[in-house]
């Protein structure tokens, strides 16, 4: 197998327990005969960590296993230093969960719902009500807090899910696709909130998303999943910045043959939405090498431009996108 040194670092050693909020040790979860998580070992650092992966990668299953909704078939999990199997209630007292799908308690106004969630999380009644008002203002629902939740728009429902996760001031937040169904403006505001929560308010969070820009904007570390396994994990800047350069390239000719040649030469490449490919050139080589390969394959180089490694590159390499 050709050695491919790309803009993706090898997974770093797992950090010491004190530095991590969540640890999984060879965890497997099966639904019937299908493995949703297969022998997963991962460590989530303090701060903001992205859990990235395509649909069906196992991100939501991992979160649900950590919450105790789905018992694992094998392996051990620890959240905030506590074993998930032995201390589920103590863990859930210190975490907040924003589910992916629409979820609320029917028949309540926003403030009543969030206060109720605060009480369920262990806050005294008066404190829960006070926190509910504060948190609803914080997420931008202050003016609408006396409306019934069932009358809310999609974006407002996303905010209220965040509010109920925050009301009891958790030590760790699980956010599952927090910008689902939001318009661009609402999405930007939600990302700003999440960034503020992680960087200014001192809460740890794990953001599960298939949207790379969301993770790149809000998180410092990332765990990339694919087909139930961890593909790569580590600090985003480290994963993006090491080992080589990235070029945007468009060619005319036998594209498939050229891609095979690039891969055989140890270069990694993947397509983008436009007809441009992003090629990872290892350290020690540069654009001339690409021209040499193009000339050998008799393809015309129509566009070549240096680019900055992005999380998309990390993700594409990790999940083996062509």
């Amino acid at each position: 197998m050709p050695e491919t040194l790309t803009a993706v670092a090898t997974p770093p050693d797992l950090p010491s327990p004190a530095a991590s909020t969540v640890e999984l040790d060879r965890v497997s979860v099966k639904y019937g005969k299908n493995f949703a998580l297969r022998d997963v070992s991962a460590s989530f650092q303090r701060g903001a960590v992205g859990l990235l992966g395509p649909n069906g990668a196992g991100k939501s299953t991992m979160i649900k296993a950590l919450l105790g909704f789905v018992p694992p078939d094998r392996g051990e999990m620890r959240v905030l230093g506590m074993n998930v199997k032995r201390s589920p209630l103590e863990i859930r007292a210190r975490i907040g969960y924003m589910p992916e799908s629409d979820a609320h308690i029917p028949g309540m106004t926003a403030v009543a719902f969030v206060a109720y969630c605060g009480e369920l999380a262990g806050l005294p009644r008066a404190d829960a009500m006070q926190r509910a008002h504060e948190v609803l203002y914080y997420v931008g629902l202050g003016e609408a807090r006396y409306r019934n939740v069932e009358t809310y728009s999609t974006g407002m429902k996303q905010r209220i899910k965040l509010a109920q996760a925050l009301v009891h001031d958790p030590d760790l937040l699980f956010l599952d696709e927090p910008t689902n169904g939001m318009d661009p403006k609402g999405r930007d505001e939600m990302l700003e909130l999440i960034r503020d929560i992680a960087h200014n308010k001192g809460l740890n969070l794990i953001l599960s998303s298939h949207l790379l820009p969301d993770v790149e904007y809000t998180c410092d570390h990332v765990v990339v999943m694919d087909k139930g396994s961890v593909a790569t994990q580590g600090p985003i800047e480290a994963l993006k910045g090491q080992g080589g350069r990235v070029f945007e390239l468009r060619v005319k000719g036998d594209i498939n043959g050229f891609v095979e040649t690039l891969r055989a030469a140890g270069l990694d490449c993947h397509a983008t939405d436009e007809d441009i490919m992003r090629v990872f050139v290892p350290a020690g080589r540069d654009a001339r090498f690409l021209f040499e390969l193009a000339s050998r394959e008799r393809v015309q180089v129509r566009h070549l431009r240096p680019s900055v490694p992005t999380l998309e590159d990390v993700f594409a390499h990790a999940v083996g996108e062509k």
Binding site: Y31, I105, E134, N200
Partner: protein
């Protein structure tokens, strides 16, 4: 100052110990029902028989000509039997949506992501229903007993019929627990409270009809165990020391009721989960 710079602060206050969340759930459910006028009307209507009986006891104690209306142990047995119809309606009104509405709104994920066990969630929902059912069975029956003592001006009746306290308690609890567990289990199986209500009513009527049909065909009441309502009748007759017209022994009726409650608990254990796994 952007709005997200206002308002969020860390919480330094007290946190309640684990194990009390069931009461938070029950209280919210009770308050939610008491806000509904139709339900308040039903509750008032359910207390109408109590008013009638209270007047009966007063008249019987204070007017010699009405002594034929004096209370007997059968009075309390009949009263609880009459309340069965209100138990039926309140069970449907309160219980049908208790878990079904949460399933429809995906609220189980919210509940079970908080520090509460599934048992607490179920107990909280159960208490919501039990409070109202006990409020139209045990509470008015015991009040009638106390009123009997007050209107008579002596404790002679109660002294002669001391078993009425445990009899009322046992029979009421059998009625309400059977209805509550069965309804909660059905509610956990659907996302539509209307469907649950129809299912519950259907099961009650169907089992009663089946028993009556078999009784008509065979001339025997040996199949009474098929009908929960008739099982409760048998138990009520036994605890109130009333002669029973049923052919089956009382332990069989107890076992039938126990099977309903146990089966409901099994259903609840399987259905109340944070995620629904379809394999």
């Amino acid at each position: 100052m952007p709005i997200h710079d206002q308002g969020y602060r860390r919480y330094e206050g007290r946190r309640e110990p684990h194990g009390r969340t069931w009461w938070v759930i029950a209280r919210a459910g009770i308050m939610n029902m008491l806000r509904q006028r139709k339900f308040l009307g039903l509750l008032l209507f359910a207390w109408a028989p109590f008013i009638v009986r209270a007047v009966q006891l007063y008249v019987a104690s204070n007017f010699q000509q009405a002594s034929f209306l004096a209370a007997t142990p059968e009075t309390f047995r009949e009263y609880l039997g009459q309340q069965a119809i209100f138990v039926f309606f309140i069970t449907i009104f309160v219980g049908a949506g208790l878990i079904a509405n949460d399933r429809r709104a995906n609220a189980l994920q919210i509940y079970l992501s908080k520090p509460l066990a599934r048992t607490e969630y179920i107990v909280g929902k159960l208490v919501t229903l039990l409070v109202f059912l006990v409020g139209v069975t045990w509470v008015p029956a015991i009040l009638l007993l106390i009123l009997q003592m007050m209107f008579a001006g002596n404790t002679a009746f109660i002294a002669r019929n001391l078993y009425l306290f445990p009899a009322i308690t046992l029979y009421s609890l059998m009625q309400v627990f059977t209805s509550a567990f069965a309804m909660l289990a059905l509610s956990s199986m659907s996302k539509s409270s209307r469907f649950v209500g129809v299912m519950y009513a259907g099961i009650i009527f169907f089992t009663a009809a089946m028993y009556n049909a078999l009784r008509a065909m065979t001339g025997s009441s040996a199949f009474a165990w098929l009908s929960p309502q008739d099982c409760l009748e048998i138990i009520g007759n036994a605890v109130f020391r009333v002669r029973s017209a049923y052919a089956i022994p009382v332990p069989v009726a107890f076992v039938a009721i126990a099977v309903i409650i146990a089966g409901s608990i099994v259903v609840l254990e399987r259905r109340v989960r944070g995620v629904e796994v379809v394999t």
